[in-house]
């Protein structure tokens, strides 16, 4: 296998590689859609004292597949005077923009589809595509209500884009690089409690709120749930076109959760089996106090093994765990909080979150400067706090 690959010309390698990675990304997106949709239905059900889908598969967990199949074979009911190309392309625009995020996310050590230098800016740019998709569907539907819903949705998404990117800047400042794999590396280097969650707690909360607004999820789902009591910008869609909107929504959710996991929770970093073994060994040995055979065996085994290809699997596993932690958090929030009104939403975005994120940038900058410049006295007073917050780091 390796010989065949190496034997190909570089052009062929690029194209085949791209095709392979692209297919993998699309399949990964669909798999995530299925899992996220089922999780949504099940989590909402458990919170509401019921069981959700039950009869279709293994206690209902397979429901996403029959749903998608059903939507695939459903008839397209299309109003007569739609603006045809806008109407047809819009759902798939949304789907494509959702999947674009996967291109830069590090799934494991060295497992990034394209390791762009400007990773963060790339995702900031992608958020623009989703707005286009909403505009297109709203205008193309030739329906007053869709248009109003789309206008609202677009206004909401554009406002929160700014806040979203601002909240990430704090992380970028601390990491010193826009590349997502670098950000993960730096979180690993910072060691225990090295994740950017704690120092950037303000940024994290702003990111959480802004990403929920960006994803059109409750408590900010006016564009789709309430707009004149019909479905907003995807009113006039049926069958697989509507399914594409749903796909876009859920894949967006998982994609932005994975960005959050990468930026704030350390991405794919986590204990591998080797580290678990050595940690367990130390624990059993009582950290050198009561040495015994079992502990020593574990430590020796850990020292002898480097993990091999299993490291990639562990990285991927931790990545999935952290991503789905965010997904669960988003769902938990959705099913608890009521919706905000459109003017309250805009107030929240511009008058509250943007100043807070700017404050976060300011604070991060000041503290970094102090930590780097005055590697001494003024910091001694607050050094314990800073250490706890993780802002005491080696100058880059």
């Amino acid at each position: 296998m390796a010989e065949w690959w190496n034997g190909l010309s570089p052009v062929a390698q690029t194209w085949l590689g791209a095709l392979g990675k692209g297919t993998l990304i699309l399949v990964w997106g669909l798999a995530n859609f299925a899992i996220a949709m089922m999780l949504e239905r099940k989590v909402s059900a458990w919170m509401q004292n019921r069981v959700g889908p039950w009869r279709s598969g293994l206690h209902g967990w397979v429901q996403a597949i029959p749903d998608l199949l059903k939507l695939y074979v459903k008839e397209y009911i299309q109003p007569r005077n739609v603006d045809y190309w806008l109407y047809v392309i819009a759902p798939f625009m949304g789907y494509v923009s959702a999947n674009l995020v996967w291109l830069i996310v590090p799934f494991g050590p060295g497992l990034t589809v394209i390791n762009l230098d400007i990773g963060i800016i790339f995702i900031a740019a992608i958020t623009g595509y989703d707005v286009i998709a909403i505009f297109m569907s709203g205008w193309g539907s030739n329906n007053k209500y869709s248009l109003l819903g789309a206008m609202r949705g677009a206004a909401q998404m554009i406002s929160y884009e700014v806040t979203l990117v601002m909240s990430i800047i704090g992380v970028v400042m601390m990491a010193g690089s826009l590349r997502l794999s670098d950000i993960v590396e730096i979180q690993i280097q910072r060691g225990f409690m090295g994740w950017f969650l704690l120092p950037q707690i303000i940024g994290f909360i702003v990111y959480l709120i802004a990403s929920l607004a960006e994803l059109n999820r409750a408590p900010f789902d006016l564009a789709e749930a309430e707009s004149e009591l019909v479905s907003g910008y995807h009113t006039e869609y049926s069958g697989f076109r509507w399914a594409a909107f749903m796909l876009a929504e859920y894949i967006h959710l998982v994609a932005w959760s994975s960005i959050a996991a990468t930026l704030f929770l350390g991405g794919w970093s986590g204990f591998t089996h080797v580290e678990i073994a050595s940690g367990l060994g130390n624990l059993i040995n009582g950290f050198g106090n009561f040495q015994n055979g079992v502990g020593d065996a574990l430590i020796n085994w850990a020292a002898a093994h480097t993990g091999g290809w299993l490291i990639y699997l562990w990285g991927f596993l931790w990545f999935c765990l952290k991503t789905y932690l965010f997904v669960f958090l988003a769902m938990w929030i959705r099913w608890t909080l009521p919706r905000v009104r459109i003017d309250q939403l805009m107030d929240l975005g511009w008058k509250f979150l943007l100043p807070v994120s700017l404050f976060n940038i300011f604070l991060t900058g000041v503290l970094r400067f102090l930590a780097v410049e005055y590697n001494g006295l003024p910091i001694q007073l607050g050094s314990f706090t800073l250490r706890l917050l993780g802002l005491w780091a080696n100058p880059m």
């Binding site: 509401q48 408590p219 099913w335 608890t336 909080l337 009521p338 459109i342 309250q344």
Partner: protein
């Protein structure tokens, strides 16, 4: 906003004129659930009307029955005495029904605002009331339990329970349900919805109704009390045996916004729970008859009566005119929700479209009652 609503208010059509997001004119269009209740009553005998009254405000059926039955008893001008035990049972059932009705009012109001989970909790708790009522009356939602002269049958053994009953008996005994309500449900509503800042942003200063307007538009019930007017028929014009019970009347601030109406309903649940406890205490101690002496064919003397009671939605009144025959000459049902719908053109304009839904939810209409 057409007859099919996503919320459970029923088939109501709201005609709304919009200027961008703001409502400039709003008018309700009713009649989609009209079932000719009043005309129907003229061809039935007096007891036969009782199951039909259940079906007007189907969310709080016992209270409708109470209104009609007490009206007919008044027509007899003392010839029918309702035994005391029956009176207490009526109050017990009416107050538990009031609590259940408020569950639904709060739940659907929350769902209109986007919080779907409280709506499911409301059904979970209503199911417990259904179970208890099924053990007593045989019906879950529509009871046909009250009779002219008393109630159909006495409470079965063990339905009252003991004050130590916990949550696992919430669907079997009254005490279990009341303890569950006080210790779990109301704190849950407070924590999940009432205290939620987003909910408060959505309902405060939305749908403000001043006290003068509330009185001018003939509102009653939580809508009136939410605007600061302390008027409750159970205290101001006591009917049945409500003058024997100790309870307070919650009143909102002069602001009269949706949040006030919400708080009034939650507090009313607490007060109803107090009444229920007092009624249960009496019922546990004093046995008695449950149906007074009633002639086989009911022929009230000629006359007319207008009887009003306090339902969870406001003042329900029943006008019964008798011409001495076994069939009523006329039954008119005064529905509070019908009167409250006329608030929509007054309160609606000036708000955003999202607030219209909030206001409608806080007025708490049931189309069965509006259209009869």
């Amino acid at each position: 906003m057409g007859p099919q609503h996503p919320s459970t208010h029923g088939v109501l059509r709201l005609m709304v004129k919009l200027d961008g997001e703001t409502v400039t004119w709003c008018e309700p269009d009713v009649g989609y659930l009209h079932r000719c209740f009043e005309k129907l009553c003229e061809s039935k005998t007096y007891p036969m009307v009782i199951p039909f009254t259940d079906r007007t405000d189907y969310i709080s059926a016992m209270i409708n029955e109470q209104c009609y039955v007490e009206a007919v008893e008044k027509l007899f001008q003392g010839a029918i005495t309702v035994p005391e035990r029956a009176q207490y049972i009526r109050v017990l059932m009416a107050e538990v029904n009031r609590i259940a009705s408020h569950f639904l009012a709060l739940g659907s109001n929350a769902m209109d605002l986007g919080a779907v989970t409280p709506f499911l909790y409301c059904w979970r708790d209503r199911e417990k009331v259904y179970s208890i009522f099924e053990r007593i009356t045989g019906g879950r939602l529509l009871y046909n339990y009250l009779r002219i002269g008393g109630v159909r049958n006495d409470l079965p053994e063990g339905i009252l329970g003991t004050p130590e009953d916990g949550e696992e008996k919430a669907d079997k005994t009254f005490w279990g349900f009341i303890n569950y309500l006080d210790n779990y449900v109301i704190p849950q509503w407070d924590g999940l919805v009432t205290g939620n800042r987003i909910f408060q942003w959505r309902t405060m200063n939305v749908g403000c109704l001043s006290a003068a307007d509330a009185i001018a538009y003939s509102t009653s019930g939580p809508v009136l009390r939410g605007s600061g007017v302390k008027w409750d028929l159970r205290k101001n014009l006591p009917y049945s045996i409500y003058d024997r019970f100790e309870f307070d009347i919650p009143v909102g601030k002069e602001n009269g916004d949706c949040f006030d109406r919400w708080l009034v309903r939650v507090e009313e649940m607490r007060q109803s729970s107090r009444i229920v406890k007092q009624a249960m205490k009496w019922l546990a101690e004093t046995p008695g008859e449950t149906l007074g002496k009633v002639p086989r064919i009911l022929k009230p003397p000629k006359g007319e009566v207008y009887h009003r009671i306090e339902s969870p939605r406001g003042e329900i009144a029943c006008y019964v005119a008798s011409d001495g025959s076994p069939n009523p000459y006329k039954v008119k049902w005064r529905s509070p929700c019908f009167t409250h719908l006329q608030l929509m053109p007054k309160v609606g304009p000036g708000h955003k479209i999202a607030d219209i839904v909030a206001i409608l939810g806080s007025i708490d209409i049931v189309l069965g009652e509006v259209d009869r």
